[in-house]
C-alpha cells in the first residue's frame, strides 16, 4: 500500500489555515505565528523542529486546542476548534488527544498503574476496563514490572514511559509530544523515540512531536522546520533514511 494513496483517501487529521498568534500588548507585542498554514495526515509521526522561540510549541498548543488563535482557523479531526467553548474543548481533548510533555508531570502519590488509570476513570470507563487498559498500555512501553512503583522510585526514562502510557491508554487519535526526549539521556531518548514511532505505526495514531532532538528526525515520517513563526521546510522521509525532498505547503 502506498502511503500517498492512503493520505489522499482520508481527510487531514489536523488542518491549520492562515493561523496567527501574538503575545504581549503594546510595546511588548511579539508575533509568534504569522499566517501559518499546515496540514497533517492521520497515522503519521510528524516532527516540528526549529530553534527555541521559533513558535513550534505555540503551534502545538494551538493544534491541540490548548490555546486559541488570534486569527485563522484550526480543524482537528474535522472539528473547528475555534468554535468550541472551554468545556467542549476539554471534552474534545478527553476523547481524542494524548499529551507527552518534557516534564513528566506524574502525581507523586500514585503508582505507575494509577497514573495511567486516572484519566481513563474520567473518560467514564468501568474500573476493571480502565485497569486492564492501563496494564496493557504499561506493557506496551515495557513497564509491567514497574507498575506498582511511585514516581520517586522510577528513573527519568521510566517516568517518561509512564507518561506515554498514560497518553496511549486513552487510545487517542492525536498524540502531541513536546520535547519528549530533551530531559533524557541518549539511551532513554532512543527508547522513547522508538515507542512514539511504534504508536504511529501500529495504532494509526497521528503523532505530532515538537523537538530539536536530531535523533527524532531519522524516525519521523515528516519533518517540518520552523523559524520566526513560519514553516521554512517540509520534508518527507521515505521509509529508508532521509531524502532531501522539500515541499512547501
Amino acid at each position: 500500500m502506498s502511503a500517498a494513496n492512503s493520505r489522499a483517501a482520508s481527510a487531514p487529521a489536523l488542518l491549520a489555515t492562515n493561523v496567527s498568534k501574538a503575545f504581549g500588548s503594546g510595546q511588548q507585542h511579539t508575533q509568534v505565528l504569522d499566517r501559518l498554514s499546515l496540514s497533517i495526515d492521520a497515522g503519521e509521526l510528524t516532527l516540528i523542529s526549529g530553534p527555541s522561540g521559533c513558535g513550534k510549541s505555540t503551534l502545538l498548543a494551538i493544534l491541540s486546542g490548548l490555546q486559541k488563535v488570534d486569527s485563522g482557523r484550526v480543524q482537528a479531526l474535522g472539528s473547528e476548534l475555534g468554535q468550541l467553548d472551554l468545556r467542549a474543548l476539554e471534552r474534545f481533548r478527553l476523547e481524542h488527544t494524548g499529551f507527552v510533555f518534557q516534564g513528566f508531570n506524574l502525581f507523586p502519590a500514585l503508582t505507575a498503574l494509577e497514573q495511567v488509570e486516572l484519566p481513563l476513570n474520567y473518560m467514564g470507563l468501568q474500573r476493571d476496563e480502565a485497569r486492564a487498559r492501563a496494564r496493557q498500555s504499561l506493557e506496551e512501553v515495557g513497564l509491567t514490572h514497574r507498575s506498582r512503583l511511585r514516581p520517586a522510585a522510577l528513573s527519568g526514562g521510566e517516568k517518561q514511559r509512564v507518561a506515554i502510557a498514560r497518553a496511549l491508554a486513552k487510545n487517542p487519535d492525536l498524540l502531541f509530544a513536546d520535547e519528549p526526549t530533551s530531559a533524557l539521556d541518549a539511551a532513554n531518548g532512543q527508547v522513547i523515540i522508538d515507542i512514539l514511532h511504534r504508536i504511529a505505526r501500529t495504532h494509526g495514531t497521528t503523532v505530532l512531536c515538537v523537538s530539536h532532538d536530531p535523533r527524532l528526525v531519522m524516525h519521523a515520517d515528516r519533518v517540518l522546520a520552523m523559524e520566526d513563526g513560519r514553516i521554512l521546510s517540509d520534508r518527507r522521509n521515505p521509509t529508508q533514511p532521509p531524502s532531501v525532498g522539500v515541499t512547501a505547503l
Partner: protein, 376 residues
C-alpha cells in the same frame, strides 16, 4: 476510580498537617468555648433544670429566673382549676445581703424559698432529700460547697441575711450561681428574710402536670385568664432557654463568645486555606496535565474540595478526642462544662464549614493549572 485526593493526602501528609492542626485547634477552641459557656450560663437556669416542675408561672416579661417579681397568690387556685395540673407549689426568690461570721463584708445572695415537703418540686433533682428535710427547721439554710469561702461560713455556723439570723444546716454541690451565691431555705424562712413588705405573693408558682409532654400546650392554655392580676406562664424548657438566652445575648457575654468564635473561624480558615493553596500549587503541573488530557476543571475542583473535606474530618477527629479528654479533666476540677448535642453539631458544622471555605479558596489556585504552561 483512583482516589487521587485521599492518596495524595496520605502520601503528602506532612504538607497537609498544618491544615489539619489548624482545623483541629479551631475546632477544639470552639468546642471548649461552647462547653464552658453552656456550663457557666447553664447555671442561670439551674433553678428550672434542677427542679421537676413542668410549667412555671411568673410575672409577665420576666427575662431570667433572677428577675422575677411577685405575683398574686390567688393565681394558684386558677392554675389548680386546670384538669391537667397535678400539683402547684410557690417558689420565693429573695435578694439578700449576707453577713458571715468571718470578715467577708456583705455578700449578695439569692435566697430560694422552697417547699420542703419530701416530694417538693423545687430543686427536686439538685437537693438531696435529707438536706431538704433539714430545711424545715426555722432559719435553716443550705449553701453550695464551692461558695463557703466566699460566704465565710462553715456547716453548723450562723450568719445573717438582711439582718435576720440563719443557720447553715447543710452543704450541697452543683448549686453554684452566676453573679451571686445561692442560698436555699424554706418558704417560711424566706418570707421572714424578705424585707420588702409589698412582695406578699410568691415570685413564681411551679406546677407539675399529669402528662409532662403537654407542658407547652398547658402553659399556653393557662394564659387565658386575667382575673387574678398580671401573670404569665412558660413550659419549664422555654423558661430555662429564656434565662440562658438572656444571659448569653442581653448581657454582652454572648456577643463576646460569638466574636471570639468569629476570630477563631477566621484564623483557622486563613491558615487552612493557605496550606491547601500551597498543596494545590505543589501539584499544579499535574493538575494541568490532567486538564490537557481533557479532565475538566470542575472535576479538578472536586479533588481539591475532597481534600479539604478530609482535612476537616481528620482535624475534627483530633479535636473531638482531645476535647473529650480536656472536658473530663475540667469536670474533675469542678469547672462547669456542658456539651449538648446541638452544641456539638454546631461545632462539627463550623469546622466542616471552615474546611469548605478553605477548600473553595484553594480551588482558585487551580486557575494556574493552564496546560499551555506545560509547553516550553
Amino acid at each position: 476510580m483512583v482516589a487521587l485526593a485521599r492518596k495524595t493526602l496520605l502520601h503528602e501528609w506532612r504538607r497537609f498537617l498544618p491544615a489539619m492542626l489548624a482545623v483541629g485547634f479551631a475546632g477544639l477552641l470552639q468546642l471548649l468555648q461552647i462547653a464552658l459557656v453552656l456550663g457557666i450560663f447553664g447555671s442561670t437556669s439551674l433553678y428550672i433544670t434542677g427542679s421537676s416542675a413542668d410549667v412555671w408561672i411568673g410575672y409577665p416579661g420576666t427575662q431570667s429566673v433572677g428577675q422575677g417579681r411577685s405575683i398574686d397568690a390567688d393565681v394558684e387556685s386558677r392554675i389548680l382549676m386546670d384538669p391537667a395540673v397535678e400539683r402547684v407549689e410557690p417558689y420565693l426568690w429573695v435578694d439578700g445581703d449576707w453577713r458571715g461570721p468571718k470578715n467577708t463584708g456583705g455578700v449578695s445572695v439569692f435566697v430560694s424559698g422552697i417547699d420542703t415537703r419530701a416530694d417538693g418540686l423545687m430543686f427536686a433533682k439538685a437537693l438531696a432529700p435529707e438536706l431538704r428535710a433539714r430545711l424545715r427547721a426555722p432559719d435553716a439554710v443550705v449553701v453550695d460547697r464551692s461558695e463557703l469561702d466566699q460566704l465565710g461560713v462553715a456547716s453548723g455556723q450562723t450568719a445573717t441575711i438582711n439582718g435576720h439570723q440563719v443557720h447553715v444546716v447543710g452543704i450541697t454541690t452543683g448549686l453554684r450561681a452566676l453573679g451571686g451565691v445561692n442560698v436555699l431555705t424554706s418558704l417560711d424562712t424566706a418570707r421572714l428574710l424578705d424585707g420588702d413588705p409589698v412582695d406578699d405573693g410568691p415570685t413564681y408558682l411551679v406546677a407539675k402536670i399529669r402528662n409532662p409532654q403537654q407542658a407547652d400546650a398547658v402553659a399556653a392554655r393557662l394564659l387565658g385568664s386575667t382575673g387574678f392580676g398580671p401573670y404569665t406562664t412558660w413550659s419549664a424548657r422555654d423558661f430555662a432557654n429564656r434565662s440562658v438566652r438572656y444571659w448569653l445575648f442581653d448581657t454582652g457575654a454572648g456577643a463576646g463568645v460569638l466574636f471570639l468564635a468569629g476570630i477563631v473561624f477566621l484564623v483557622g480558615a486563613v491558615i487552612t486555606s493557605q496550606t491547601l493553596v500551597a498543596a494545590v500549587n505543589g501539584s499544579v503541573r499535574e493538575y494541568a496535565m490532567l486538564n490537557a488530557l481533557g479532565v475538566g476543571v470542575a472535576a479538578l475542583r472536586r479533588v481539591v474540595l475532597e481534600q479539604a473535606f478530609w482535612v476537616g474530618a481528620l482535624g475534627l477527629l483530633g479535636a473531638g478526642a482531645l476535647g473529650m479528654a480536656l472536658m473530663l479533666l475540667a469536670r474533675g476540677q469542678d469547672v462547669p462544662v456542658v456539651l449538648t448535642v446541638p452544641a456539638a453539631l454546631a461545632c462539627i458544622i463550623l469546622v466542616l464549614g471552615l474546611a469548605a471555605v478553605s477548600g473553595l479558596a484553594a480551588m482558585r489556585s487551580l486557575r494556574h493549572a493552564d496546560p499551555a504552561t506545560l509547553l516550553r
